[in-house]
């Protein structure tokens, strides 16, 4: 079984795994941001990812399949998701911050149920698909094996988002305030900053990332009901093994998850799905609080 895995196939699979990692990282870094600052385990983060993919599809459809469609969708989808999250946060969430984690968890789960059905109402239960723009279609040749251009594109986007997040949290005012709020919210409130709006901003940025992830994943797979279920558990596990609220932890966690998954596909396809979970369990047995320092 392992004998006929060539070095080239292995490298190619790693590259594919890395591009999957990009999506996982973008989605889970948003989740981690919200967990770190607001202390909310946001279960409907996965729903927003799914909604992002559907909005991307619709945006591209409106433009009638022109090559521009994908790029417009890439902008519209995350913004649309951010708008939805703004409404939910200001309307309902901001009244519940003092509740215990269990209540918050169930509350966000309620929204996952609601969003799941709303997506069914709006887009129906059929599969949808969105094709990549012509420039990103087709294949490169790497190590003599074909490598999808779109995956290469994802490999470029990943570091870009990571840099953007680093810049946001370390170099901007809102980033600095939110990092302070993550550690001590009373203190931030005491110096006259409106903590409630800081929370809203962080929440929206986190959700924006879910939408972006959904738009980016759209050309690589069928857009369908149930996307939310699959991604949210993965995102949670990534955040946990990385260290709650730590963006770099999310990156590390996504790498572990994505790479074990693609190695699993090579080694034992039937049980590939099991490999990342084993990796998570092993990490947590030795580092129960995650690999990097949690802000909690």
């Amino acid at each position: 079984m392992t004998a006929n895995i060539t070095w080239a196939a292995f490298s190619q699979q790693i590259l594919v795994g890395l591009s999957k990692t990009t999506i996982l990282f973008i989605v889970s870094s948003g989740l981690s941001l919200v967990l770190g600052v607001l202390r909310i385990p946001n279960v409907f983060h996965g729903s927003l990812y799914m909604i992002g993919a559907f909005i991307a599809y619709s945006a591209a459809m409106v433009l009638g399949g022109s090559p521009l469609g994908f790029w417009v969708a890439l902008v519209v989808a995350p913004l649309g998701v951010a708008l939805i999250s703004l409404i939910v946060e200001r309307g309902l969430f901001c009244r519940l911050y003092e509740r215990e984690h269990l209540m918050l968890l169930l509350f966000t789960f309620a929204f996952m149920l609601v969003f799941g059905d709303l997506v069914k109402l709006v887009w129906g239960s059929d599969y949808r698909s969105l094709s990549a723009p012509p420039i990103l279609q087709g294949y490169f040749s790497i190590f003599g094996l074909p490598f999808p251009r779109y995956n290469a594109f994802l490999l470029l986007i990943g570091p870009l988002v990571a840099f953007g997040l680093w810049f946001l949290t370390n170099k901007t005012k809102i980033g600095k305030i939110s990092r302070a709020a993550a550690v001590d919210r009373e203190m931030v409130g005491a110096v006259g900053i409106n903590v409630s709006w800081v929370f809203a901003a962080v929440f929206i940025i986190g959700c924006f990332l879910a939408g972006l992830g959904g738009a980016l994943v759209a050309p690589t797979q069928n857009i369908t009901q149930g996307m939310d279920h699959a991604i949210i558990i993965e995102a949670f596990l990534i955040v946990i093994i990385g260290g709650l609220g730590n963006i770099w932890g999310a990156l590390l966690g996504a790498l572990i998850f994505g790479l074990t998954d693609s190695i699993g596909i090579l080694v034992w396809p039937q049980f590939a799905i099991v490999f990342p979970y084993i990796a998570v369990v092993v990490v947590l047995m030795f580092r129960p609080q995650g690999l990097l320092k949690s802000v909690w």
Binding site: P41, V43, L92, R95, L96, R99, H101, L102, M103, L105, L106, F107, F109, A110, F111, M112, L113, V114, G116, D117, L118, K120, L121, H229, I233, F236, L237, I240, L244, Q270, F271, I273, V274, Y277, I278, V280, V281, L284, M285, P288, Q289
Partner: protein
């Protein structure tokens, strides 16, 4: 004195309920008997979760794993072994409890949210294995037409079997909650630090509690096999775990019968609303949102609170 009166009353309610449930098959048609059996099974599952959640304060986020493991262990014993048919109903809970011990040993070192998340990770691992292991578990199709013993394979037989076992388990769980162990378990829920200080090995009690809950979750799983005659991976998918959390919350998670009531409401809703619309989870979600805002103690918790405050007012007047 007051405590004794309360218990006499609850005993009366329990007996009345049991008699009512016992004569139900003489009045209702197959469908409603099936539905009642399903409510009992789900209610037992929710009650076993609430034992660690409401009374133990543990963030048991993936309790459905024990339900699924119990169901699969029972079904596989019935299908693949030559053991006497009823052995499956012992193997199911025992295997669930064993999985509980293993997961507990890994999880109880952590507290609260981390505990819950690690449990989801481990549970998802179990789910992923079951989901993919076609040759043994039937993979995502599950196993159908499980050869349930003749006596309990008819709808009435399955119903009475379920009713008797559920009633027995409810009595056992009630005894455990009100035992010294249950008292200490509640003390740990309220204040783990203080519990350590009065000489309680908190982690070990949590491990024992989790194992017991897993066992009863496994019983519920085995009963599901009796009622449905089949098993599938959704039985241990994490969304089911959150659904039973909702049942506990809905019924009232600081009350003993709350989870059973919650299960009744959710399963009925699922069935009846599901007949008219495919959007029943939307309705479920809205109910949950309203619940969290307006009734955080749950339905039964709400009424009990009303009841006891009225009673206190009455005794104060005297």
């Amino acid at each position: 004195m007051f405590a004794a009166a309360i218990n006499k009353r609850s005993f009366g309610i329990a007996v009345t309920l049991l008699v009512l449930l016992g004569v139900l098959p003489f009045f209702l048609d197959r469908f409603y008997i099936y539905l009642t059996a399903l409510i009992l099974v789900t209610g037992l599952l929710a009650t076993s979760l609430n034992m660690v959640l409401g009374y133990g304060g543990m963030y048991q986020f993936h309790h459905a794993v024990f339900y699924g493991v119990g169901a699969y262990a029972c079904a596989l014993t019935l299908i693949k072994t030559d053991l006497p048919p009823y052995a499956g109903f012992i193997v199911g809970p025992v295997v669930a409890a064993a999985v509980g011990v293993i997961m507990g040993l890994i999880c109880v070192r952590l507290s609260k949210l981390y505990f819950g998340m690690l449990q989801i990770a481990l549970g998802s691992l179990v789910w992923a294995i079951v989901y993919r292991w076609y040759s043994f578990t039937g993979g995502d199709d599950g196993l159908h037409g499980v050869p349930v013993p003749d006596l309990i394979s008819s709808i009435n037989g399955a119903y009475y079997f379920t009713l008797i076992i559920t009633a027995l388990c409810m009595v056992l769980i009630y005894l455990i909650i009100n035992s010294p162990f249950g008292r200490i378990f509640q003390a740990i829920r309220d204040n783990p630090e203080r519990s350590e200080t009065i000489g309680v090995n908190v982690k070990r009690h949590q491990l024992v509690g989790l194992t017991i809950a897993a066992f009863f979750g496994g019983v519920a799983g085995s009963l599901f096999v009796t009622v449905e005659g089949s098993v599938f991976p959704d039985l241990m998918f994490w969304t089911l775990s959150l659904e039973i959390l909702i049942m506990c919350l809905l019924g009232g998670w600081f009350t003993f019968l709350g989870p059973m009531v919650g299960a009744g409401i959710v399963v009925s809703l699922q069935t009846f609303v599901g007949m008219y619309t495919e959007y029943w989870t939307l309705i479920m979600g809205i109910i949950l949102i309203l619940l969290i805002f307006f009734l955080p103690e749950g339905v039964l918790g709400f009424f009990l609170e009303r009841f006891s405050s009225r009673e206190q007012a009455m005794s104060a007047e005297k």
